[in-house]
């Protein structure tokens, strides 16, 4: 049996409509106002979060190993991975740019995956519930910034098309990287933070079964 926090709406059988946020007894099955299906918690929240996270982890490798950008110019072909680009900026002395790319494209996705995994684990143990909630908020907030790289690639590919003189094409790495970012965003979205508090309540007062 799933146990909810004793002071939660769920414990009283009330569900919040996912669409119009109307609090409704969950027995109704459908929201009386907008007609969407009612659930006490997000459906299969943990499974979905795990699935998205694992998919993101899998795609993280090609995202970093394959080139994100292929520059074709009359001086020859030239392609770079994310880390290669970071190293190049660093070598040229563009430390701020290198740090921004490194932060947005390498650190944030990794941190996000770690954070979501931690949240998923915390929603079982219920420990450090407040910290976890804060982590959840930050995760949601920073997730979109990882798309900086993809935006740069998209803009470059769109703008720099000078035929044989210079043209830029996205590499397979860019696709994988975009998938990683989107998957982590989906993972963060499909995570229901209320599970943390349910778990916290369970930890304090283990259900008698």
């Amino acid at each position: 049996m799933k146990a909810f926090a004793p002071d939660s709406a769920a414990a009283r059988g009330l569900a919040l409509c996912h669409v119009c946020y109307l609090a409704t007894p969950v027995n109704a099955g459908h929201c009386p106002r907008c007609g969407s299906r009612l659930h006490l918690r997000q459906r299969e929240s943990l499974q979905r979060t795990w699935a998205f996270t694992i998919a993101a982890v899998v795609l993280y490798f090609p995202a970093n190993l394959l080139p994100v950008l292929r520059v074709e110019s009359f001086t020859g072909d030239y392609q770079n991975t994310i880390l290669g680009g970071v190293a190049e900026f660093w070598q040229h002395g563009d430390y701020p740019v290198a740090l921004i790319i490194f932060g947005a494209s390498v650190v944030i996705p990794v941190l996000k995956i770690i954070a979501i995994s931690a949240l998923c684990l915390a929603s079982r143990t219920g420990r450090r519930a407040r910290t976890m909630t804060r982590i959840y908020r930050i995760t949601e907030l920073i997730g979109r910034w990882s798309m900086v790289d993809i935006f740069v690639v998209a803009i470059l590919v769109g703008v720099v098309q000078l035929g044989s003189t210079l043209s830029i094409h996205p590499g397979a790495g860019a696709l994988s990287f975009a998938a990683v970012v989107i998957l982590t965003m989906f993972a963060a979205m499909s995570f229901d933070p209320r599970l943390i508090w349910d778990a916290a309540a369970r930890a304090e007062d283990p259900p008698q079964l």
Binding site: M1, K2, A10, A11, R12, G13, L14, P25, V26, N27, A28, G29, P32, L40, E44, Q47, R48, A51, F52, I54, A55, A56, V58, L59, F61, P62, L65, L66, F74, T75, G76, D77, Y78, G84, A172, S176, A179, L183, S190
Partner: protein, 518 residues
């Protein structure tokens, strides 16, 4: 609906569906895994083998950037550039694409394309903008190879192009360098591929390539000569200026042709060697390909024999006198004059030219059969001498001996010393003749001849115009003339009237009528 509304006091039983049902969302990581595996497989399948190429310098080669091209198709990238362990070169590791695998065979040639200006002209200008790149020329072999030694100069002729590869030898490289063109009648027929200097012989060896079209024109008697630069000739016809093509002017050029067209020599095969002459006129000069030194020991004087004098066999030049000096053999008790000659027996034979051994054997055999060296006068005006080698039938048996480190061909036959001996013997005989007595008797004979002539003169004067004989003779002749005249008139009248012989001479009367006139 209102009674169903939950209240705090009356909690409703929540609908709890059985948990731990496998959500269809797991298809996402499965897809991601497939995607990742596919990308990884694609990445590794496109990666071909890595090769290591050794170069002298890594000029212009940048790791992960410099491409490897084969006929302008990208077949790889330079992955690493490292110094070799002995610090004498660089080892460039190249990551090839999978398609390039079969290009990497035993005789594949690899070099760096950079902007060059050399004898072959200006090349690689595009690399000024694009940066250097590595060019790979696939070979013909099928044997795989992963370690290569890069060429410092791009090969002039790609492997597998049909044609003829020959070698040219010369003493002076001139402006000929690798890449210089070879012409035939002004048409581009090939290129010089390599230039090697042989310090031991002092000769320069050119590797030359003649394209397939012109290969049959290269025959055994074909001459190659240098046509670089400008040729000015001042002669009876005025001044002649001959300028080769601009290319040959800049890079030097070689041309070839059959100069003695009467002889159709057999065509040559790959690896044949030729002499490269400095000019067309030089082709007529005497050049030895691989000469052998021999010492000749003459007993008589060698006056008139100079350095560079010809050595001939039955009038065909086969060598040159290198020097005349007692230094070659200082301790000879007979004080024979040592003459060092260089001869090339291959000029009159078909011996292989790769080594000198067959030629040495040939000379030794010829000497056993009576080949002897002798001095002969080549020019009677200047008394220039030359060395003549010929077989002498009655020569005493001899063989090539070694004296003071030199091979010695025996001398013999009509040397100048013998000629001088004969001449002095002739003079001696002349001297021994009794000339004085002969002269005396001759003068006596002359005196008697003189007297006889005087008598003759006297006799002849009797027959002169005033002589008595003459008077009598002319009188007789006059009478004879008269007699002859009367005889002529007689014969005339007899002819007209034969009967007058019987009836006598008639008077002046007309002949009777009816008498037929003759």
């Amino acid at each position: 609906m209102a009674e169903e509304f939950p209240s705090k006091s009356q909690p409703l039983k929540p609908v709890v569906k059985p948990g731990h049902r496998l959500s269809p969302i797991w298809i996402i990581p499965v897809i991601a895994a497939f995607l990742g595996l596919w990308l990884a497989w694609k990445y590794f399948s496109e990666r071909g083998p890595q090769i290591v190429v050794r170069f002298e310098t890594a000029e212009g080669m940048v790791a992960n950037k410099t491409p490897v091209m084969c006929r302008s198709v990208n077949v790889g990238t330079v992955a690493r550039v490292e110094l070799t362990d002995d610090l004498k070169g660089v080892e460039v590791t190249m990551q090839m694409t999978s398609e390039a695998t079969r290009l990497l065979t035993k005789d594949t040639q690899i070099w760096v394309v950079r902007a060059r200006y050399d004898a072959a002209g200006i090349s690689g200008l595009s690399t000024i903008l694009s940066g250097n790149y590595v060019e790979l020329e696939p070979g013909l072999s099928t044997q795989a190879r992963r370690r290569f030694t890069g060429l410092e100069q791009p090969p002039v002729t790609p492997k597998g192009v049909p044609g003829l590869h020959i070698t040219l030898f010369t003493n002076e490289a001139g402006s000929i360098a690798a890449g210089a063109p070879i012409f035939y009648k002004g048409l581009s027929a090939g290129k010089i591929e390599s230039r090697i200097f042989h310090p031991e012989s002092g000769k320069i060896e050119f590797g030359a390539f003649v394209s397939e079209q012109f290969a049959p024109l290269v025959r055994k008697n074909t001459k190659f000569w240098n046509i670089s630069g400008i040729d000015v000739q001042l002669g009876a016809n005025g001044m002649q200026l001959h300028v080769g093509s601009l290319e040959s002017l800049l890079a030097g050029g070689i041309t070839f042709g059959q100069l003695d067209a009467a002889i159709s020599a057999p065509p040559v095969s790959d690896g044949a060697s030729f002499i490269l002459y400095d000019s067309l006129s030089d082709t007529k000069k005497f050049v030895m390909r691989n000469s052998l030194p021999y010492l000749l020991l003459f007993t008589g004087s060698v006056r008139g024999l100079n350095q560079d004098a010809p050595v001939e066999f039955r009038g065909v030049r086969i060598g040159t006198v290198n020097g005349v000096s007692f230094n070659y053999l200082p301790d000879d008790p007979d004080r024979r004059v040592p003459v060092l000659v260089q001869i090339d027996p291959t000029l009159i034979t078909n011996l292989p030219t790769e080594s000198t051994e067959p030629a040495e054997k040939f000379v030794a055999e010829a000497v056993r059969n009576g080949l002897r060296a002798s001095l002969k006068i080549g020019n009677y005006l200047t008394a220039q001498m030359y060395v003549d080698l010929d077989f002498q039938k009655d020569a005493p048996a001899a063989s090539v001996t070694e004296v003071a480190g030199y091979q010695v061909i025996p001398t013999g036959g009509s040397s100048l010393a013998e000629l001088t001996d004969k001449a002095s013997a002739l003079l001696d005989k002349l001297q021994a003749l009794p000339l004085e007595e002969t002269v005396k008797s001759a003068s006596a004979a002359l005196a008697s001849i003189k007297a006889t002539v005087e008598d003759l003169k006297k006799t002849a004067s009797g027959y002169g115009e005033n002589g008595p004989l003459y008077q009598k003779l002319s009188e007789t002749l006059r009478q004879l003339d008269e007699t002859l005249n009367s005889i002529r008139s007689l014969s005339d009248s007899i002819e007209r009237k034969p009967n007058s012989l019987i009836f006598g001479k008639p008077g002046r009367v007309a002949p009777p009528k009816g008498t037929p006139r003759p």
